[in-house]
Symmetry: C2
Subunit: 148 residues, 2 copies
DNA sequence: TTATAAAAGGACAACAAGGTCTTTATATAA
DNA sequence: TTATATAAAGACCTTGTTGTCCTTTTATAA
């Protein structure tokens, strides 16, 4: 469903949020390790997120990535949009160029339900809401839940 | 969601079904044109489908692709499985290796609903059911509905 | 003011998916 | 039995995504 780079982005953002809640600023090395993604590639992903103001960054000693007031409450939709565009929310499941309610492909109705459902998730869930689940021990960010 | 090759496969199969219902056997050239896919690539897709007995084929003059009794009533799931495997129905939306009900990622519950919904469609819809919609004029296979 | 620790940026390598082309095998019709 | 129409097969090319590496910029601490 989502591109790998988008998955990395979301996982990274949740981790950054968790760190921020503990008044920590975190860098690529630590982030990549935590989300189990290649370091250099994670750096690229974070660069993209920073360029699009999903997060902010600081260079130099003690630098790293963090949320600002304006970048707070980012929805999944916004992140997905920045990472891979939003064609995923519009595309016909059958692959037709001009599929619509008026000119439907044979899967149109059922597939639209699924696609719209995914869109609803993307709109309602935020980095905040996901992070909260993790900090409450209701979900995990990587392999295993380390309740500490 | 689905790979392009899978989309081509499903569209091709529906067209083949429609042709079969008219007691016609159809070949790559016509199929590719109808489903608006590159000819050589469509040939590869059909080769895969034939190899996995989703359809049968005949070489030589008057040859082409067609359904047999045993290959009738193919579900979308079976087609998807042959074309791209079924990881799409199991994969975690967050990208976690070990995401499960017991060890859920922060999107687990909601994403699973979507994924399971898609699985239900794939299991319940068949090449038959899709083709019927087209032949009844309720859906189209390509750009526009040509009711003839 | 210099050394160091970080992100930013650019070039490119590896791999997968999508797509093309040419040759071979096989069935049918003339 | 020969010409033709078709699918099968294999080699290859193209593009997009994922991933790496090296250099540059910038902030901080000593």
């Amino acid at each position: 469903m989502l591109a790998k780079s988008t998955e990395y982005a979301i996982r990274a953002l949740v981790f950054i949020q968790l760190q921020n809640w503990q008044d920590k600023r975190t860098g690529v090395v630590e982030i990549a390790k935590e989300i189990e993604a290649p370091e250099a590639f994670t750096a690229k992903v974070l660069q993209t997120l920073t360029k699009h103001r999903i997060i902010a960054s600081m260079k130099g000693r003690g630098g790293g990535f963090f949320f600002t007031e304006t970048s707070d409450q980012m929805t999944l939709f916004q992140v997905i949009q920045v990472m891979e565009g939003e064609s995923i929310f519009h595309k016909c499941g059958f692959g037709l160029k001009n599929c619509s309610d008026a000119n439907p492909c044979p899967m149109h109705d059922k597939y639209r339900t699924i696609r719209d459902g995914f869109f609803a998730i993307a709109q309602s869930e935020t980095i905040h809401s996901l992070s909260r689940k993790v900090s409450e021990g209701k979900a995990v960010l990587n392999r295993v839940s380390f309740l500490n």
